[in-house]
């Protein structure tokens, strides 16, 4: 007990003191920000460019309606629109050469023929900006609708009333109370929480693996084993590294809740879901700790079984894979947190730390489901740790060639 504590203390202090701790504490949130928030922001922000378009129409009124619609776009692109009547057979060729010369950015071809067929054409040098295409799409539809209404004698004022946009507010009903649902923000927050857990499990799991491997390659293992038994050593290592992980998370939470720097922009979403599902604050640490114990046992055994970083890299995929699967199916769980598939998948012990956390963040599942998943996770964790501690015990004293799987199975009988 005393020895385990000493191992924990050494592991913790040496790690927190190291420069790599400071660096990873700053870099991991930056990375999560870079893969989650940044791409969406960049994609939507690109938009502020000015576009010069031409509209070719056989009906000036429709053309103007669409042009007005485009000119009134406030968020996103700024449009300058010329309306041209398509009675000149040369018009199309002219417009095309203007696009090529760069005089205009593109043109909409919406003759009455095209409209009645329900398909108009937008030609431009580049048509990949989905924001712009979206704006055009909605402008054309609104413009055409307006023109059709006008043709049927509806006054512009009435048309305006008819076309008035209706917003859908999301409200979640839970325990007889109504709460304003965070909607889209919740999606990103679920995503961010899952990514954070994923990175922490991999990052700290691999820290355990490297720590074991380092003791093995530096041969300090033999000295340690003359004082500490293998089980205490492994336990101390896992708990020490895990405590570093919790410290790091605590730093992030404090910075994230207090900070407003753009690096922690994701934390705004986090705050949103924490506010909307208080269970997360309790269950997130629980699932992190259990998931960490499960995976770090596997990583510790891996570190003990191999002899070098290269060998570890060749094999670590087998440990990492069950962590990647929940990330791959995450979107499905976020969209339908209560479906049968979500339920069963979130009961799989290797997935549950990430998937249950997502489900809790989205829409707190019944308590029995949480309890069941925790129970399954606990049993699995116990089994995995008792198997891996045997592999660890034998592996740490084995040098030489990389063991094969049958050899590792044989090790289980030694201990």
């Amino acid at each position: 007990m005393r020895n385990t504590w000493l191992v924990i203390r050494r592991e913790y202090i040496e790690r927190v003191r190291a420069k790599s701790f400071l660096i990873s504490t700053l870099l991991i949130p930056a990375f999560i920000y870079a893969v989650t928030v940044l791409p969406t922001q960049l994609a939507t922000r690109k938009a502020s460019s000015k576009l010069h378009l031409a509209i070719a129409t056989s009906n000036a009124r429709t053309g103007e309606a669409i042009a007005n619609q485009l000119r009134s776009v406030t968020s996103g692109n700024k449009y300058q629109v010329d309306v041209k009547t398509a009675d000149d057979p040369q018009l199309r060729a002219n417009l095309r050469s203007q696009v090529e010369s760069g005089a205009i950015d593109g043109y909409l071809w919406l003759t009455d023929d095209a409209i009645s067929q329900g398909k108009v054409e937008y030609a431009a040098s580049s048509t990949s900006d989905f924001v712009q295409i979206g704006e055009l799409h909605s402008a054309v539809n609104t413009g055409v609708t307006r023109a059709r209404l006008a043709e049927r004698g509806v006054s512009p004022d009435d048309a305006e009333k008819m076309l008035k946009r209706v917003d859908v507010d999301t409200v979640e009903i839970k325990g007889g109370q109504e709460k304003k649902g965070p909607g889209e923000g919740k999606f990103f927050a679920g995503f961010a929480v899952a990514m954070m857990l994923y990175f922490m499990l991999i990052f700290h799991g691999m820290a355990v693996m490297r720590s074991v491997l380092e003791e093995k390659t530096s041969r300090v293992m033999e000295v340690m084993l003359s004082s500490v038994n293998a089980k205490d050593l492994m336990a101390g290592k896992i708990i020490g590294v895990g405590a570093v992980g919790l410290t790091q998370t605590a730093i992030w939470v404090i910075l994230g809740l207090a900070g407003s720097s753009p690096m922690f922009a994701a934390s705004k979403n986090l705050r949103e879901i924490i506010a909307s599902s208080s269970g997360l604050l309790i269950w997130l640490p629980v699932y992190f700790v259990l998931g960490f114990l499960l995976y770090s046992g596997l990583y510790a055994a891996l570190g003990a079984a191999v002899n070098s970083d290269q060998e570890a890299q060749q094999l670590q995929f087998f440990v990492t894979m069950p962590l990647i699967i929940p990330i791959v199916i995450m979107t499905m769980i976020i969209r339908q947190p209560d479906s049968t598939a979500s339920f069963w998948l979130s009961m799989v012990p290797f997935f549950s730390p990430i998937l249950m956390t997502i489900r809790i963040a989205m829409h707190t599942p019944p308590v029995w489901q949480i309890a069941l998943s925790v129970a399954i996770l606990l049993v699995t964790m116990y089994l995995i740790l008792s198997i891996t501690s045997r592999i660890y015990r034998v592996g740490i004293l084995m040098y030489g060639k990389r063991p094969t799987l049958p050899e590792i199975v044989r090790w289980l009988k030694y201990a």
Binding site: R2, N3, R10, E215, R219, L225, S226, S227, L397
Partner: protein
């Protein structure tokens, strides 16, 4: 007679490989014991069982007159053959940590770490990380780690390997001092000259079995004064084929030979002076080195049956 350590018919098998085969050893309290043997003979496997790092498949390990328990380890100091320290840790932190694991209180451990570093001439380096030190210095740190908790029983696997003569001398002095203080020392080595100087008893193991065991003086006398040691300049190689000589080891200008049954040493001296200039000629007990090589070769030349 009190034994610090007893192995009773200890056997250890790794898969199909028999590492230690029915080995029995007694190490008397206060003695210096040499565990000898060629590479791969089973010395490290034997030592690992003494330290409880592995368990014997059969047989008993008796430490301080009791069956082995983990808490005995706090009274044993261990210098493994595979040296290893935490590379990124400072010397003092490292020594204090390892001593704490042996049950020494933190403050006391720090005080002793300081004292041992001064004693081993490492005083200026205590704030450095291990990776910044030379191999020889790391070796001394490792030794300090083994002895910091003031163990009654020291197990040293190749303690002199990698030390220059000056440092080896410092280490030897420390060992003698420990012996005088009543501590028991076991060390394994290939350096037979050190064994002759330091050990009271030896055990020579080969293929996991004890092939020669006992008090050093008694072991040597078993072989009798039937060896000659010659220091010479010139040609000594002819002795190899001489009928007067049974076994023979030539080192260029020093040779050690075992006389054949009934051979007269004077005959050899005559033959030798005819071919070389003889500086020393001595009829003596065999050196341990000779005993080692002969015993191991003899065993190995015997056909190994499956």
């Amino acid at each position: 007679m009190i034994n610090t350590l007893e192995l009773r018919s200890v056997t250890k098998r790794y898969d199909k490989f028999l590492a230690v085969d029915n080995l029995s050893i007694n190490i008397e309290k206060g003695s210096v014991f040499g565990l000898l043997g060629p590479n791969g003979a089973g010395k490290t496997s034997t030592i690992r069982m003494m330290m409880g790092i592995t368990m014997p498949d059969s047989g008993e390990v008796i430490v301080f007159n009791e069956p082995f328990r983990r808490d005995h380890l706090n009274r044993i100091g261990y210098l493994p053959e595979e040296r290893g320290l935490y590379k990124k840790m400072k010397i003092t932190d490292q020594l204090v940590f390892l001593a704490e694991l042996k049950g020494v209180p933190r403050a006391e451990a720090a005080r002793r770490a300081r004292a041992w570093c001064d004693r081993l001439e490492l005083g200026d380096w205590v704030e450095k990380k291990v990776e910044e030190l030379s191999k020889g210095m790391q070796q001394k740190i490792q030794f300090a780690a083994a002895i910091l908790h003031d163990p009654e029983f020291l197990i040293l696997d190749e303690p002199f390997a990698g030390l220059d003569p000056a440092n080896a001398d410092v280490l030897k002095d420390v060992l003698l001092e420990q012996q005088k203080a009543g501590k028991t020392i076991l060390f394994s080595t290939h350096r037979m000259d050190q064994v002759e100087k330091l050990c009271d008893s030896i055990c020579l193991v080969d293929h996991g079995r004890s092939v020669l065991q006992g008090e050093l003086r008694e072991v040597k006398s078993r072989f009798g004064r039937n060896h000659i040691q010659i220091e010479y300049e010139g040609d000594g190689e002819f002795l190899k084929t001489s009928p007067l000589v049974k076994t023979f080891h030539n080192f260029g200008n020093y040779t050690e030979a075992e006389l054949a049954q009934g051979a007269d040493p004077q005959e050899i001296l005559k033959a030798m002076t005819a071919r070389a200039r003889v500086n020393r000629f001595e009829l003596a007990e065999p050196t341990l080195e000779k005993i080692f090589i002969d015993t191991v070769n003899q065993k190995n030349s015997r056909p190994q049956n499956a």
